[in-house]
Symmetry: C2
Subunit: 406 residues, 2 copies
């Protein structure tokens, strides 16, 4: 029996950094962040777990394994938020892991493999221009030495911000004893809600590319320039954006392509635009599909520009590889969900998560619960108490399977 | 024989209001404007013409008719410019008419019908928020009494600006003795240059409609929202803009449709846009064709929005009726141009001109000469001296036909 509800836990943690709109702002190494990590450590101690904070501020609560103590199964998520974010993004996963691990210990005693709950110090990158500072320090991608050169908007370095909030230690946070990572998170999309599923079993965290595409046409009078003399940069951009949406639909299989940003110059109603820039964000679980899509679509875009003698430039500014989640555990999970008659969906994660950082190094599992209206990064972020509870149950089950069985 | 070249005339008038970039700024009722109208009046007197300024500042130079003195053929264009405009827009037509009328008088004596050159005080609307103040005062659409309520950006009223530059008179500028208007102007487009013609015979000044079209979609995460769940306002806008360009091309016959302005919200690369606004500028010589085009295209746009459950709103903020130029004179003109082996094109005017104001009341003729690269409203505005001269010759011919023959 679980002694407190996950909803109570979530509401309790949300007080640290609560905003006027009843959202949460908990940026890395700020007082709100520090209070939350301290309160968590206090709670972890009360739950008889061994507590530790590493040199970047990740907090761990350990339930030592009896048979394979050196094999650490890490479970959790991140404690930081975006500015005026929700109560659930990150925090839910930390608290659910704490509930699950403490309840397993209460009910079954020590696990065979070591279980550790982690409250990762930073995932969002909302204060400093880097993401996954917590998880990438554990996997060894980030070193303490980098802290001097990274500064926030007020020119405070990562190093002095760390020091100011009392996080200490000169040893890099890298660990080699972690054999597995399990993360529970809200979906941040509306797939589960739309399809009336309670649990999402993530097969892949998608890869991403982002581009800025610039069309160079010719500015001219909207009245005196016949259609066939035009190099209308906005018409070409419109054709390119339509083309992308159609092509992404054709690929199917979870493929998404988005133009979220567009600017036209001179941007005057009666003048033909000569310079239009728009972004393209492409995501899929298969890198080759992304590459093929981009190659094909850029060829077609070039043709559209060439047809009227306009120029087109593609500038890539982001590339993230897709990461596969552990298939074996997913199969176990799906079998369990079927047996329990819990409606679930095997699905992609279109957003980034700490699980993608760990997933590049160890077998990793990512589980979703539904988000109301798909909203996240907002005070309106919400999942029902029943869905939050369901997530904890599923997480508890899989941690039992992984840590308590041979 | 014409005693001075049109190029000399143009360069002479361009000194009044010359800018650092060698353009011209001559806004209504400013010192530069006043000096130009005064210099013109002086020149008109030297050419033995009867000079008059009306109550709004239009300047007339009269060559009295011997047989039908009460039938006034008015010829000219406007003296005002946009800010940092070119030397030719407006001024060329005024000076060409002055050259033509004085030369006809010198060569053939007094005309049968009265010829009057007009330097219209204002066409562009660059200082006050109204266009065609000069020509619409003559046709009676504007009254002196309206001057108190119209102010410029510095809150100076049209009335006090007029007074400050010494334009006087309490009688409205409306005239009922004008039986015909003839205007020579640069094309402000690149049709004549591209087709290597020397003269444009304008059949219609096109009608215009302008709209702002707003698409209301749903903002969502670019990664976690599958293509088939999207209400992407920017994709719908792109489809609408492509559709418009295709449909305008299909209409042909000089039909033009332009989207020059677009804004997306929130305009962030990884967020699906929920609010996109774009303009539509539609022009053609036939009002019914414009109406049919809009009706059809708006129906199709509504379908595109409806398909994904988005909203679409069409807001019209401009409507100008097309105006036909005098067909009989155009036929005469074309015959003359053929006989003289002058390459010409019968064409539309996609831009507005004083001729459209007069054309609603009396038979009107509008003649174009080529603009280099179609550029106007800029110091780069240019036509070759040969083309300027050719325009004067054609204008002189047609004024002779209209005023010197029975």
């Amino acid at each position: 029996m679980i002694t407190t509800t996950i909803q109570n836990y979530v509401d309790w943690l949300a007080q640290f950094g609560e905003t006027a709109e009843r959202g949460v702002t908990r940026l890395l190494y700020t007082p709100a962040w520090q209070e939350a990590q301290q309160a968590l450590q206090q709670r972890m101690k009360e739950l008889q777990l061994t507590v530790n904070m590493d040199a970047v501020g990740n907090v761990f609560a350990r339930s030592e394994g009896t048979v394979y103590p050196e094999e650490v199964i890490l479970t959790g998520s991140h404690i930081d938020t975006v500015i005026n974010g929700g109560k659930l993004d990150g925090a839910y996963g930390v608290l659910a892991s704490l509930l699950a691990v403490s309840e397993l210990k209460r009910q079954y005693g020590a696990p065979k493999r070591t279980l550790e709950v982690v409250s990762l110090c930073e995932e969002e990158g909302s204060r400093f221009p880097l993401t996954f500072w917590g998880s990438r320090s554990i996997t060894g991608q980030y070193k303490l030495a980098q802290m001097q050169n990274i500064t926030d908007a007020d020119d405070v370095s990562l190093a002095s911000a760390r020091q100011a909030c009392g996080v200490t230690g000169g040893q890099d946070a890298q660990r080699k004893d972690i054999v597995r990572f399990v993360e529970l998170h809200i979906e941040q999309g509306q797939v589960l809600e739309q399809e009336q599923k309670e649990i999402g079993v993530v097969s892949y965290i998608v890869g991403q590319r982002r581009y800025t595409i610039s069309i160079g046409g010719q500015s001219n009078h909207a009245g005196t320039t016949p259609m066939h003399y035009r190099k209308d940069a906005l018409v070409i951009a419109a054709q390119c954006i339509s083309l992308c949406a159609d092509a992404a639909n054709e690929v199917g299989d979870g493929f998404v392509a988005t133009t979220g940003q567009i600017t036209a110059f001179p941007n005057v109603p009666n003048v033909i635009a000569n310079d239009v820039k728009f972004t393209l964000d492409v995501r899929h679980y298969d890198e080759a599909t992304i590459a093929m899509f981009c190659e094909k679509i850029f060829f077609n875009m070039e043709q559209l520009a060439k047809n009227v003698g306009a120029t087109i430039i593609f500038e890539q500014w982001l590339e993230v590889a897709p990461v596969a989640m552990d298939k074996q555990v997913n199969d176990q999970l799906k079998l369990y969900l079927q047996q329990q008659h819990i409606p679930y969906k095997e699905m992609l994660s279109g957003a980034g998560h700490d699980a993608q950082v760990f997933g590049e190094h160890v077998p990793t599992t990512l589980i979703f619960v539904p988000s109301k209206d798909g909203i996240s990064h907002s005070p309106q972020e919400y999942s029902t108490p029943e869905h939050l509870q369901r997530g904890v149950e599923v997480l508890t089950h899989i941690l039992y399977e992984l840590a308590y069985k041979e």
